[in-house]
């Protein structure tokens, strides 16, 4: 089987097992909801402040949620050593990463889309006319978070103190994603909305660089 068909089969398995257990999605959604509500209560922002600071708080919540969600993606494979079975079955280990990245991006996007109306209501932000731009930003930002996060999850799963290691490595590495995504979202949610193509370009480059690195070196991350 080829890389893409292997990745599709693996992605199907990831989605099926998650929608069957709903462990990750429900936890992540509840977590982001709590963080967004707490931010709203703590800052009690005016409309102007919401436009300036809201997107940053939103992306911080997504980042925290991602560090929570990415942790189990390889740890779950350790329970019955299923990662070994996958390594024996697929000809290209990058297929395993592609599937994990696809699933994490999908789950993160789902969480973000569910949280967007809640955020808009709590922070009094109107995004209706900017939905395509926001969706593009969410997609590129989530892909970047998932790509870097999946690589680090593979590394940290084999380490001691793994529960602490992933957030410690992930949050600094994803700082550029946080900054770029926030800038683009601020531009889209401002009183005079505009798409920040520079930020979108940065997010796209970040995604391509990390995907390429994973394609080249991913095999070594899966080794014992």
């Amino acid at each position: 089987m080829g890389l893409l068909s292997n990745a599709a089969a693996l992605l199907g398995k990831e989605v099926r097992t998650e929608f069957r257990s709903r462990e990750l999605l429900s936890t992540t959604i509840v977590f982001v909801l709590i963080v967004v509500v707490l931010f709203s209560f703590t800052f009690d922002p005016t409309t102007n402040e919401s436009h300036r600071f809201g997107p940053g708080l939103l992306w911080l919540a997504f980042l925290f949620a991602a560090s929570l969600m990415l942790q189990p993606c390889f740890l779950r494979e350790q329970t019955n050593d299923t990662l070994s079975a996958l390594r024996l079955a697929v000809s290209d280990p990058f297929a395993i990463f592609l599937a994990k990245i696809g699933a994490n991006t999908l789950f993160l996007l789902l969480t973000e889309l569910l949280m967007l109306p809640v955020f808009a209501a709590l922070f009094n932000v109107n995004f209706r006319g900017q939905l395509p731009g926001i969706l593009l930003t969410f997609l590129l930002g989530s892909l970047g978070i998932s790509t870097a996060g999946t690589a680090l999850a593979a590394i940290s799963a084999q380490a001691r103190m793994r529960e602490l290691l992933l957030p410690l490595l992930l949050l600094p590495l994803l700082a550029p994603i946080l900054v770029a995504s926030t800038e683009v979202t601020v531009g889209l949610m401002s009183a005079d909305p505009a798409m920040q193509w520079k930020g979108i370009g940065f997010l796209a480059v970040f995604d391509v660089v990390f995907l390429t690195a994973l394609w080249l070196f991913g095999e070594y991350l899966l080794e014992e």
Binding site: M1, N6, A9, N80, D81, A85, R87, L88, A89, E224
Partner: protein, 231 residues
């Protein structure tokens, strides 16, 4: 996917060391396994049997030395079937879903028929729609064995294959391994002492502290190599 008869695989471990931190799991191990051999690995806990099998499966890289494969036909695609301590199947999927998933990854043709055939063979035909997490240890082991056999492997690696199996399933396993051995499949299995499964072996290798301390083919010393008291 090549069947064992079409593609026989041999292995050669050449001065292999495997170190975890300061502890040697394998030390300067040299071992050649000819295509079609059925080798029983014996040894105490921590003697290096599992590490040797994981290196043979290409799941672990040796710290030093090398592993090479010899294949009697070059244009085939040999497959390794591995049954480890862990079952290597997903608890959240049913027995059938697990096997269909791995069959798809392995490129097995006529997947549904192959999976149904194996589930029937391992005695799980009636429980095919049950989640693996509801299975007993023995039933999980049956799914694990079925997974390893999915793609007609040319090389079979078993880490204590009869773990958790009831006498009926052990008898089935012995029969199945005998058929595979006779069809030319290379089999390497780690065992704890003498057992019914060990009688299938055409060769016994005993490991101590990561090195081969005894290596014999069928004969008078065979049982003593398998047993813990032999040296």
């Amino acid at each position: 996917m090549a069947s064992p008869a079409e593609c026989k695989v041999g292995l050669r471990f050449e001065k292999v060391d495997k170190r975890y931190g300061t502890v040697y799991a394998l030390r300067n191990l040299t071992l050649t396994i000819a295509p079609g051999e059925c080798v029983a690995l014996a040894g105490r806990n921590g003697s290096g049997k599992t590490t040797l099998l994981r290196i043979a499966a290409n799941l672990t890289r040796p710290t030093r030395g090398s592993l090479s494969f010899s294949e009697s036909t070059e244009n085939q695609n040999p497959h390794t079937g591995f049954v480890a301590h862990a079952t290597m199947v997903y608890d959240e999927l049913t027995a059938e879903e697990n096997l269909l998933f791995f069959a798809k990854l392995l490129g097995v043709t006529k997947r549904k028929e192959r999976v149904a055939e194996l589930l029937f063979e391992v005695g799980l035909g009636e429980r095919k729609d049950s989640l693996v997490r509801t299975f007993s240890r023995g039933m999980r082991q049956r799914v694990a064995i079925a997974r390893a056999l999915l793609a007609n492997p040319s090389l079979l690696l078993f880490d204590e294959p009869a773990t958790g199996l009831d006498p009926e399933a052990t008898t089935w396993l012995i029969g199945r391994l005998r058929t595979l051995r006779d069809s030319g499949c290379t089999i390497v299995m780690s065992l704890h002492g003498e057992s019914e499964v060990a009688r299938l072996a055409t060769r016994a290798v005993r490991l101590e502290a990561g090195s081969v301390v005894a290596d014999t083919r069928a004969g008078t010393t065979f049982q003593s190599v398998l047993s813990f008291t032999g040296s």
